[in-house]
Amino acid sequence: MEMCIGDLRFTRSMQTDSASESALIDRCRKQDFEAFGKFVDLYQSRVFGFVRRMVPNSEEAADVTQEVFIKAFQNFTRFDGRSSVRTWLFRIAYHLCVDRARKQDRTPDQVALVDAEEGESIDLPDSRWQPEQLAVDSELMSVVEAAILSMSEKLRSVLLLHDREDMQYEEIAQMLEVPVGTVKSRLFLARAHLQNVVKSYLEIEVSK
């Protein structure tokens, strides 16, 4: 078994075998405080990371993340196992983020992209871009973070849930209550926007 340096999250530490996770979930359903603490340990970083990128203000993000876990604790008895517990938890997180954004009436500088239905042609960035040579450094990461923040909630949420949380299209579609095709097209648009931003950043760097 391997652990990769550079995979900044050592996922093995968060992987429990399905039997022990089932046992943990059963205890959480019974409002076992200690078991729920372990549940929080397993998911707090991922949930906070997601919320932090959906709700840019860090204090608010911390508040929302707390609300997520409090709500999960209160409602665990109603978790029926139809979806994975991860999907259930992130659904709570997503809806709380959306509620918070609506309360704040926050409208980020949204990318002027329109949801594309599957099959519509979409302008692709310059195909001469050579992404294989792209090297990751902290400045580039900051650019990526800013680009994510500049997207609409719809695009941002799909990008984070799929590319960062490794959720399947069907899971995301179920969570956001949209068709799978819509999830795919939002993902494509979100990545295309990010690609444009990164390309522009590199061109600016080159021209300096």
């Binding site: 929080v40 932090r52 209160q74 294989e132 990751v136 990545r191």
Partner: protein, 148 residues
């Protein structure tokens, strides 16, 4: 595979996906976790209180008291009597397996607590078990002053 699936699988799209994956991890602070624990504990206590009130609203208290009295009157004196007096052979500890395992666990916990505490309070001190010890009286003698 649809056209959109093909586009999503392209190298440029996958590179962007890797960039998103490589974003740094975010972990809430310790203070955040402490606050959450308190909030959850409050929730847990409220829920427990509701359950308890419901359970004990029934007339079971009297029955419980009667059982406790019976134990106090009939059971405890027997076990105390069995421990009193001199014995040639001290009694074997019941559950030696769990005792031995427990001793090792205590030692392991104390050792690993060093990583957490460093030069600060260790978990025993921080849970106040030590500080509950009564103060030494003025008449007690003290060992030699190490005079740091």
């Amino acid at each position: 595979m649809s056209e959109l699936d093909g586009k999503l699988a392209s190298s440029s799209q996958q590179t962007v996906a890797r960039l998103v994956k490589a974003l740094p991890e975010e972990t809430p602070s310790m203070l955040w976790r402490s606050t959450l624990n308190e909030a959850l504990l409050a929730q847990s206590t409220r829920a427990q209180r509701k359950r308890l009130i419901w359970r004990f609203a029934r007339p079971t208290v009297g029955l419980s008291l009667a059982c406790v009295l019976a134990v106090a009157v009939f059971v405890l004196p027997v076990s105390r009597h069995s421990q009193a007096g001199l014995r040639d052979t001290p009694p074997a500890v019941s559950s030696p397996d769990s005792l031995a395992a427990g001793l090792f666990q205590i030692h392991r916990d104390d050792v690993r607590a060093v990583d957490l505490a460093g030069t600060g309070l260790n978990p025993i001190e921080a849970t106040d078990e030590q500080s509950k010890a009564p103060a030494t009286s003025q008449d007690d003698y003290s060992e030699s002053d190490l005079d740091l």
